[in-house]
């Protein structure tokens, strides 16, 4: 099988797997939280059913909203989809894999966050603006930590190309137990909690005006557009989870060019992201949401951890 066909195959598989899988991960985390709190909870596939239900509803826009409100869901989903397509999720040779630089991925994620903030501001509701302002504050603190944490890994691997980092980590298994990976993992876990709006930072299950961040921005969406926004946000979560899983446990990712390796990689990815989702769900169960003014402390901690990882990487290079 030639290289190009395999790359296309990898990217298509990644999109399909992350598109469906991340929604199932959301359902799984909700289920784990429900069980830990002594409730039965909705089925694991509930997010998929919600999407299907939303797709059959009519499109509704607020009266004073502009074209931004209509465009934002597409931008959110498209930027997440591009990032998923080119990242090393099940194989190190996806389409455009050579341009899957850490900066490209971070800016693709940032495009999505800016689009959802603009969508929050556009209908000029009080909640939308508040949510957008909070989301931008959190994003401004979390993005640098994300960037610096991955730079720490790239210092060790000698490249800022994500597939390159994954494949060189796979060939140096001792790195995984080194301090660089340890500190960068700590930083990335904090960033992932912030970027995906999980509990110490934002509560995905609340609609209380004092605390909601992400929900406040999407309050004006209904029907197919809400489905698209939900899908885009879920894909962001899936992308971040699988990047964390692959950067720190690179085993199972297909580095060669055979279809069998891709199948193994799919199974490995499912196992790794499910474990990560369980860990995040347990963190959510065990912790309370932080006050908004305490968030800079948490995120600054993530930032200093990532700086520590970079300096560790430079020191032991």
């Amino acid at each position: 099988m030639n290289r190009v066909a395999l790359s296309v195959c990898t990217s298509v598989l990644q999109l399909a797997l992350v598109g469906v899988g991340s929604l199932v991960l959301l359902g799984l985390m909700a289920k784990v939280k429900a069980r830990a709190e002594g409730r039965v909870g909705s089925p694991v596939v509930q997010p998929l059913r919600d999407i299907r239900k939303l797709l059959t509803k009519e499109r509704l826009h607020a009266r004073h909203s502009s074209v931004v409100l209509a465009l934002a869901p597409m931008v959110i989903t498209a930027s997440a989809a591009v990032a998923v397509g080119i990242s090393p999720i099940i194989g190190t040779h996806p389409v455009l894999g050579q341009s899957a630089d850490i900066f490209v991925i971070v800016y693709l994620l940032l495009t999505g966050s800016v689009a959802s903030a603009l969508a929050g501001l556009d209908p000029a509701t009080a909640f939308g603006g508040m949510g957008a302002s909070r989301a931008m504050t959190i994003g401004a603190l979390a993005e640098p930590a994300l960037l610096v944490a991955v730079i720490a890994l790239s210092v060790q691997a000698g490249t800022s190309n994500l597939p390159g980092i994954v494949s060189s980590t796979a060939s140096h298994p001792a790195w995984v137990f080194g301090p660089v990976h340890l500190f960068a993992l700590g930083a990335l876990l904090i960033v992932v909690l912030a970027e995906t709006g999980r509990i110490p930072v934002d509560n995905p299950a609340t609609h209380l005006e004092l605390t909601m961040v992400h929900e406040a921005m999407v309050l004006e969406y209904a029907g197919p557009e809400l489905a698209l926004v939900t899908l885009g946000e879920a894909m962001r979560l899936g992308l971040l989870f699988s990047l964390v899983a692959n950067l720190f446990l690179p085993w199972g990712v297909a580095t060669g060019d055979s279809l069998g390796a891709l199948a193994i990689a799919c199974a490995a990815l499912v196992a790794k992201t499910t474990t990560l989702a369980l860990v995040v769900a347990l963190i959510e169960v065990r912790s309370a949401k932080l006050r908004l003014f305490r968030l800079p402390e948490l995120l600054a901690g993530g930032f200093v951890l990532s700086v520590l990882a970079v300096v560790m990487g430079l020191v032991i290079r």
């Binding site: 200093v304 700086v307 560790m312």
Partner: protein, 218 residues
């Protein structure tokens, strides 16, 4: 064998600096003291790893001494002192927590830049980790000048001492045993004296926030 030695040394030395950063991050005084204990254990682990690698019995004994003193005895004493006021928290540090974490990041980078010249004199698996010790010293000084609680100030002092210890182990594979014994007993004495001062201050007034005191009564 060699890669195991190198990564054990990297992780333990990294943990010493990580614990120093954690003390700036957390607010509860008891948590900070427990983190200090973890740092003492990591420091002794550095000494023990070096001792095993270089078959140095004196360093092995030093490592054991550090383990008992800085991992168990000093944190235990401080925990007892902080038990007088179990809910005490570092509520209003002179520099707030996010700013001190950013300052810590700057100090870490600074110590990396500064130590490059020292490490280039005799590059080895141990000496290249010297920036971590330097950074621990600087973070300790930072804690010492920006925190108000007496316990936090003692913790800052011990951070400085642990940093100096780390640099000494990494550069010279441990100072002579008698010197280490002397300095350890000095630190223990300082902690005991400071703890005594703190307890008697707490008995006279409920303010152990040093910057808010105007006079020392007896």
């Amino acid at each position: 064998m060699n890669t195991a030695y190198v990564s054990a040394l990297d992780v333990t030395a990294g943990l010493v600096l990580f614990a120093a950063v954690m003390t700036l991050w957390r607010r509860g005084v008891r948590t900070i003291v427990s983190i200090l204990g973890v740092q003492g254990l990591s420091l002794s682990a550095v000494a023990l790893v070096l001792a095993i690698h270089e078959h140095d019995t004196a360093l092995l004994v030093t490592g054991g001494l550090v383990l008992v003193l800085k991992g168990i005895v000093i944190p235990g004493l401080l925990l007892r002192a902080s038990r007088l006021d179990p809910k005490s928290r570092e509520t209003r540090p002179l520099v707030n927590v996010p700013a001190s974490l950013v300052a810590a990041a700057v100090l870490i980078v600074l110590s990396y830049v500064v130590s490059a010249r020292i490490t280039s004199l005799a590059p080895s698996d141990a000496t290249r980790l010297v920036p971590l010790g330097m950074a621990t010293i600087l973070v300790g000084y930072f804690m010492l000048v920006t925190r108000r609680r007496a316990v936090s100030k003692i913790v800052g002092l011990i951070l400085v001492d642990n940093g100096i210890g780390l640099v000494a182990y990494l550069l010279t594979s441990g100072v002579p045993f008698i010197v280490e014994l002397g300095s350890s007993i000095d630190v223990l004495l300082v902690v005991v004296v400071l703890q005594f001062l703190m307890v008697s201050m707490g008995r006279h007034s409920d303010v152990d926030v040093l910057t808010e005191r105007r006079e020392l009564r007896d």
